[in-house]
Subunit: 301 residues, 2 copies
C-alpha cells in the first residue's frame, strides 16, 4: 500500500520538525537558568537538552494527530512526558542505581552537578511535569485524566518505578521469563503506552480509539525495550553514547540473555506487527505512527 | 474570648482523632506491602508510618472545615500533602544531601532499605500524591487546581525544591537575611501554605477565603520553621528524635544563627499573631486553626 508510507526524506523532515517543536516547548515550559536558584535550573536543562530523540513526545503528537486534525497546545503534555522520561534517566544513572558516567555521549547529570543537585533535578522534572499539565490549556476533565495517566505510568504498580525496582532486584539472579516481561512492560512500555494515551485523551479520542492506541503503545513499547537490550549486546559504546555491554556485566534481566539475539530480534518484529495491526481502524490517519513503529524497531543506536 | 478556644483536653482529643483519620486514609491510599515489587511498597510505608505528626494534612482538614461543614473525601488531598512531605524527608536525609541516620528516633529510609530503594521510594511517594489527587472524588476543576497547588509548592520556583537547593548552597557561607527568608519561605512555608489552600479549594472557598487562608499559611509556615531552627539549638537529640545541633555543625542558614534564640522566638510569636489576625473573617469557624497555630509555636520537640 503506497498510501500508508511517505518517502524516507519526508519522514526524516517531519521527524526533525517535530523534535524542534518539542525542543521549543521544553524551552518555554522549563524555568530559565537565571531563575533562582540557578544551579537546579541549569541541571534540569542540562539533562533535558542532552540530545534526547523525543520519541515519547513525538508519539504523543502523532497519536493526537491520528485522532484530530487540530490539537493546539498538545506540546504541553508531550513535554511533560519528556520531563518524566528525563527525570527517570537522571535517577537511574545515579551511583546508588546504575552508576553510569555517560549518557548519549555526555557526562551524566550527577557527574556535572554532583549527586545532591542531580537527585533534586530529577525530583524537579517530575514535579514540573505535573505542573505543566495542571496549567495547560485544555478542559479540566482532560487535564486530570492526563495527570492520572502520567502518575500511573510513572508509579510503582505496573509503572516505571515498579519496573526499575524489579530490574535492580533481578541483577545477578537467574532470569525468569515472567519477571523479564514484567520489567519491560513496567519500566519502558508503561510510559510509551502513556505517551499514546495522553495524546489521544488530549485530542478527545473515543473509547475505541483510546483502546487501539493503547494496544499500539504496549506493543511498540515492548519492541523498543527489546531493541534496546539487543543494541547493548551488539553495538559499541561509541555508537550507543553510553557504556555498552553493561547489561551483561551487571547480569541484568534482558531479552538476549533469555532468548539470544536472533530470537529477540524476531520478537521485536512480531511486536511491531502487532502494534501496526492495532492501528487498522485509523487507516491513512495513522501513517506517521506506522513509520515511527518501523523507526523504533529498525534504529541502530 | 472564651468562645475562640476549646479545652486543652478536647483539643488533644480532636488532634488524635484527626491523626487517626489521616493514618487510615494513608493506609487505604498507599499500595499494600504485598503489592509487587514489595520492597518499594515496604519502604514507602516505612517512612509514611514512621511517627509523623500529620501537621500538614490536619491543617488541610481544618482549612476545609473553616470553609464548609461537609467535605467528604478531604482525606485524599490531605494524604497527598503528607506523601509529598514524606518524600522530601526521605530525599533530604540521603547521604548526598543532609546525610541523616535518624529521623523521629528511627533509622532513616536509606539506612533500612539502602540508597537505591530510598531514592525510588521518594520518587514513588511524589508520584503517588499526584495519582491520589487525579483519582479522588471531586469536580475536575478543583482536582486540577489542587494538582497546580501541590506542584507549585513542591517545585523549584519559590517551592520546596528551590528552598532545599538554596539551603544546601548556603552551608558554610555567611548567612544573609534575604537568603534566609527565601529558604524558609520556599523550603517549609510553601507546602504549609499549600496545605491550607488545598483544603480551602477542595471545600469550594471564595477568593477572599482562599486569600485569608493563604496568609494564615504563610505566617504559620514561617513560625513553624523558626521554631524548628530554635529547637535544633536548644533541645537534646533524644527530645528531637534526630541529631541535635546539626544546623550549627553544618553552618546552616538559620534564624538563631542570624538573630539569636530570643529574638527568633519573638519573631515566631509575631508570625503567629499575624497568622491569627488573617483568620478574622472566619470568626468561630477558625477556632481549630487558631489552636493549631498555638500548638506549632509552643511545641517543644
Amino acid at each position: 500500500m503506497s498510501s500508508s508510507v511517505s518517502s524516507p526524506a519526508l519522514f526524516r523532515e517531519r521527524l526533525q520538525s517535530q523534535q524542534a517543536r518539542i525542543d521549543r516547548a521544553l524551552e518555554r515550559l522549563t524555568p530559565p537558568e537565571s531563575e533562582y536558584p540557578p544551579s537546579i535550573h541549569q541541571a534540569m536543562r542540562y539533562s533535558l537538552f542532552a540530545g534526547g530523540k523525543r520519541i515519547r513526545p513525538i508519539l504523543c503528537l502523532e497519536a493526537a494527530a491520528a485522532v484530530s486534525d487540530a490539537t493546539p497546545g498538545i506540546e504541553a503534555p508531550a513535554s511533560a512526558l519528556e520531563m518524566i522520561h528525563t527525570y527517570s534517566l537522571i535517577h537511574d544513572d545515579l551511583p546508588a542505581l546504575d552508576n553510569d558516567d555517560f549518557r548519549r555521549g555526555k557526562p551524566t547529570c550527577h557527574k556535572v552537578f554532583g549527586e545532591a543537585i542531580a537527585i533534586l533535578a530529577g525530583d524537579a522534572l517530575l514535579t514540573r511535569a505535573f505542573q505543566v499539565v495542571g496549567e495547560m490549556e485544555a478542559p479540566p476533565e482532560r487535564r486530570i485524566a492526563i495527570v492520572r495517566e502520567l502518575a500511573q505510568a510513572a508509579g510503582t504498580v505496573n509503572g516505571m518505578i515498579g519496573g526499575q525496582v524489579a530490574d535492580l532486584e533481578a541483577e545477578r539472579k537467574p532470569v525468569e521469563e515472567a519477571h523479564l516481561h514484567y520489567i519491560h512492560r513496567a519500566k519502558t512500555a508503561a510510559l510509551i503506552r502513556a505517551s499514546l494515551r495522553v495524546g489521544a485523551i488530549f485530542a478527545g479520542a473515543s473509547d475505541s480509539q483510546l483502546h487501539a492506541l493503547s494496544r499500539f503503545g504496549e506493543q511498540i513499547g515492548l519492541a523498543f525495550q527489546i531493541v534496546d537490550d539487543v543494541l547493548d549486546v551488539v553495538e559499541s559504546s561509541a555508537g550507543l553514547g553510553k557504556t555498552a555491554g553493561k547489561d551483561a556485566q551487571q547480569q541484568k534481566a534482558t531479552f538476549p540473555a533469555l532468548y539470544g539475539v536472533e530470537r529477540s530480534r524476531e520478537m521485536a518484529r512480531h511486536a511491531q506487527q502487532q502494534a501496526v495491526a492495532a492501528l487498522e481502524p485509523f487507516g491513512e490517519r495513522a501513517v506517521r505512527l506506522r513509520e515511527l513503529a518501523a523507526l523504533i524497531v529498525e534504529r541502530s543506536a
